[in-house]
Symmetry: C2
Subunit: 411 residues, 2 copies
């Protein structure tokens, strides 16, 4: 059978539901693999945390850019999906996501046109950011020209950080442009605490969030918002407890909707986000009270391609297949061709990647180990975002390694 | 117009030939951009070099995974396309590439089946590597079972390096398996000098290539090859002169076909490959005698999203859009909305990226510069491979920034 050229990507070319098993080598490796049971666990855990702290969850979708996962997040109770660019918003919209926060300034003619087109659907609820008079003017001009109302959130940032107003003057100038525009509607305040670094990050972040709450209440008192419902939104994947629990403790008036936007929880990892979640559980009693914990749901499976020297194997997986910016992938499982689920071996810390190239990685392993060319190794990763964007499709498996779905991405 | 979901990727959703110009903001940014004139230049330059040194060119296609570019390379005179994995070979085959070197050991049931399927076409000429008795046995078993002949190249490597036999014993054991298999045909010798490092790399690499030539001649004299035509192939993008010129100077017998496999030359960069090409021209008189030189053909264009502090701009481009493992992208051009080709400003080294995140980058720029939110900046890159795999499509432009084609990738 000749595959259509559009299906010619690494991983499975032809997915046959219920017919392919990872252990049986029915998939071309390297392959990115998602465990559905762990995704289900992570969906429930984070929604439970949001419910417990009485905040809305708008998971950042940029991590996966897999609309199939956005749909699972919405079905589990998410209030909206957060995204990072206009094309990402377009992808979500065309897969049925009807409430989106673009956690970025919307810039550029084509990007604005893309959003204006989506806003012709009255059921599409959309928020984007603005952080300067210059930018607000660009939005006001474009959306005024196309006569389409646009809900904007005022972004407030920190010195040396990313976007966001730094000074009261910048805030006032931005508000002045918004308020003189017929089509811009100020709908809330946005911030991102993840760029705050220092010796005492926890204190700095708490102070910053307190300032954001105060700012929002001040604007509310001054009747600065144009919408009846006012968003107050922050929180990436590392500090969402500080944000959510500050929101909860502030006993916000009912017009204010507190929204957190972690993204990596859904896939999690065994690297930077595992560490940040462990630190979070040291801080947050609420998080400890939620049953279970997040679990790393993504692996990249690859073959042992060569063992040219004792204890030195070459793996058929590289920078084209996995994130490598926050630690190298960790060997987790060893499977020999022909072996079944009862023979899957869990690897210990004597198995380590030592280097990674575009299409290869170097594995250091105990010299006595019975490793052979053609064996399969499953690697967990650090920083899920940068593994996802290497794949057009990821194999979703059940706990028996049966492929139950192919998850498409749209980068 | 509602785009089909398969076209929902960043960059252009809907390409209209001749109707879209980068300067006119007809494309959603960030966008990856290829200059066709520079690609034409690079195609001609490297083919000229290969012709001059009388070696065949089998460009490594893993860099771009854009079959449209493979076709341009073949039309310019390439002898074959080199690839790194079975799915990559499948992509090339289904886009009309009928001679492929898989510069890797072919491992795994699905990957072998993919190649066996393609080999049912008698016009498809295919070579892959083997470097151990263990691996050769896997190939012999599979291709014996499906009764399909397979041409293999013996890979020879270096201590501490990647794949490849290290010792005469490993070579002999591998050859023994090949020669006892009815379906494996030894068709040449392969090596990759790019993993050789040391104080005197040039000398080490020359010695290694000399050893490869000697080894091939020895095997030829011993009638170890099963094919009338014997490949001798090495050379990545950094040291192809040492390989090609060693091959040329060896005055190889006519049965031996010398093949080099650089890949990055087609796109080139302003980082690691610019440096290696400059070093190469210091070494190679032949390269100096070829008219012109390689030119960086890829840019990522992005918007200025925020200028929250003097001299500190946030750019709407990040690790999701560009390589970052070999130096950050370099700001090259500044374009203000509404400006035409005569107003494109070339930026100097006072403009520098200082950090990059998933979807953003920090730009440091001269405080007096008239930079505004909404301005466009074109960035050149270092390491083209890892920028290409972030894009499903790249905009091909002419020298007037008109989009003349969309180049699809298949990662």
């Amino acid at each position: 059978m000749q595959p259509s050229t559009s299906s010619l990507h690494k991983g499975i070319s032809t997915f046959v539901p219920g017919q392919q098993n990872l252990l049986a080598q029915d998939i071309s490796l390297p392959a990115a693999v998602l465990y559905q049971s762990r995704i289900d666990n992570n969906l429930a855990w984070m929604q439970g945390y949001a419910n417990q702290t009485q905040v809305k969850l708008a998971p950042h979708g940029k991590t996966t850019m897999a609309p199939g996962l956005f749909q699972q997040q919405m079905a589990a109770g998410a209030w909206a999906i957060t995204l990072a660019s206009a094309p990402q918003v377009q992808v979500a919209y065309h897969h049925g996501i009807k409430r989106v926060i673009l956690a970025n300034e919307l810039v550029g003619k084509s990007n604005m046109q893309m959003i204006a087109d989506l806003l012709q659907d009255p059921d599409f609820e959309f928020y984007c950011l603005t952080d300067s008079a210059q930018h607000a003017k660009l939005l006001a001009d474009f959306f005024g020209h196309v006569k389409t109302p646009l809900k904007v959130l005022l972004e407030i940032g920190v010195s040396g950080g990313r976007c966001g107003c730094r000074t009261p003057e910048q805030i006032q100038q931005t508000l002045d442009v918004i308020h003189t525009s017929e089509y811009l509607q100020l709908a809330g305040v946005e911030f991102y605490e993840g760029v705050i670094h220092g010796d005492n990050e926890v204190t700095l972040i708490k102070q910053f969030v307190a300032h954001m709450i105060e700012q929002t209440l001040t604007l509310l008192a001054a009747k600065a918002f144009d919408t009846s419902r006012v968003l107050l939104t922050g929180a990436g994947s590392a500090w969402y407890d500080l944000v959510a629990e500050s929101f909860q403790q502030a006993r916000l008036p009912s017009q204010i909707i507190p929204v957190i936007r972690p993204g990596c929880y859904l896939i999690h990892d065994t690297g930077i986000y595992q560490s940040s979640q462990q630190a979070l559980k040291q801080r947050s009693q609420v998080a400890c009270d939620i049953k279970g914990d997040l679990s790393s749901a993504l692996e990249v499976w690859a073959y042992v391609q060569s063992i040219p020297e004792p204890g030195h194997a070459i793996i058929g997986m590289g920078k084209r297949d996995t994130a490598f910016d926050a630690g190298l992938p960790s060997p987790e499982l060893l499977v020999k061709p022909g072996d079944g689920i009862d023979n899957v071996v869990t690897l210990d810390s004597q198995w380590q990647l030592t280097d990674i190239m575009d299409q290869h990685a170097y594995l250091s392993f105990p010299e006595g180990a019975a490793l052979k060319v053609g064996d399969m190794i499953a690697f967990s990763t650090s920083h899920p975002c940068l593994t996802f964007d290497k794949w057009k499709q990821l194999a979703v498996i059940d706990d028996e390694y049966q492929v139950i779905d192919m998850m498409r991405t749209y980068f």
